[in-house]
Subunit: 139 residues, 4 copies
């Protein structure tokens, strides 16, 4: 079991009122959880800064399924990196556009390299890579 | 069928050499595709700037499955917004941590509100929302 | 005088230890100040989100002073917006490159428009606009 | 003298029309300059990625001048790093708030460390560090 402790924060009353209003609007039920989230955000930024950090990557790709052999190309590249691709999910957005989201894990620089390889394929219309934590040491 | 046209760009030779090296390293097979990607990035930023823009959101959540009734809470919130949640994918990262990625579509401000509601739940350790395009008008 | 109050935060001990180490490394002398900074960051993000928000903008421009009449062009554009430009500072970086930083104040959308106008001038090699708060309501 | 060359880009007509509209709105007088800016942005991201990269940093600080000996503290820290601080500019925003912008140059990790030291001082209400290029190799 983890050990829960309590510490005090001194703060200007007006600033605290503004904070309380904002976190209520976001859906927080108490201050401690909002503060813990701010602390975890700061730690995750630090944890995922180094090129060698073990990270989770979420790669969002938008592409046209009309492009001949695009699916195969994307598939080929993905298979070369199957060690780092946990799974993928595919959505048919409209008659033309597909949304594909890849969940990646591994060294940040490798995750970024895989994303570069997929984003540079012709007819991939847009894409974004989000780097986050594996959740370790964030209890 | 779309109409493909060609236009010329004048540029300093050294700058072009640096660009060619960087895009080769990223995996591009020609300059046109790299330039089109830069243009689409710029348009997507514009397309997704307004709170009312129709967008795709990818929400990456990391949480501990030990927390009692957390899954139910997350599920409850998601069901209230089933119109905007296309699908979700779940990964058991290790003994403690779960990765859940939600694919969202709708007005940017609604997508952000749903993300706020989920991220503020206790025991959700970390999360990030990425906003991207639905792919319309990016042919 | 502002009224200072104190509230308690409950947190896992290991998480707090990691936080304490990180803020010590950044130079914080106590937890309260680090927590207040996290709270203010969150409020500033909210305060500066709307296009009509009153903001401070810091525009960093890098350009070559060899380009004929570039300084005049930049000056002309700046004078059209003197109401929003508080001051500028100029540095001769090397034989070729100048660094110019403009301090802007006003509606976010106007500050962004002025930045667009300056960044689009030929021979401005690079630039970045940072949006921050006027400091009001952050006591 | 630098050597200017010209290359062709093939693109869908509708995409080009959208690009032309957007860059006109931003103030570009021709496509080449807009394309060069996109290319330089991509190179600057690469140039400033490594912790050892030589960069320009613009640090924007907002603080209350009422706080006793804050100016001296900020001044002390700055003098310890005078090698990396090119110059600073100060603005009296209102009765309470000061805006101070520091122009920094040096290794990215050192510039970030200096920013951390200044941002962690009590009564500095907010701050943001922007990293950009020294302009070298961007002709």
């Amino acid at each position: 079991m983890n050990n829960i402790i309590r510490f005090g924060v001194s703060i200007d009353e007006k600033l605290l009122t503004r904070f309380d209003n904002l976190i209520a609007q976001k859906g927080y039920v108490n201050r401690s959880e909002a503060i813990r989230d701010l602390i975890r955000d700061m730690l995750v930024q630090e944890d995922t800064a180094a090129p060698e950090a073990d990270v989770i990557g979420t790669l969002t790709l938008i592409y046209s399924h009309h492009a001949s052999d695009l699916s195969e190309k994307l598939n080929d590249i993905q298979h070369q990196h199957h060690d780092n691709i946990i799974s993928t999910v595919h959505v048919h957005l409209d008659e033309h556009n597909c949304l594909e989201v890849l969940l990646l894990q591994g060294e940040k620089q490798i995750v970024q390299k895989i994303a570069d390889n997929l984003l540079s394929v012709k007819n991939v219309r847009h894409g974004k890579l989000t780097i986050t934590t594996t959740g370790k040491d964030l209890s």
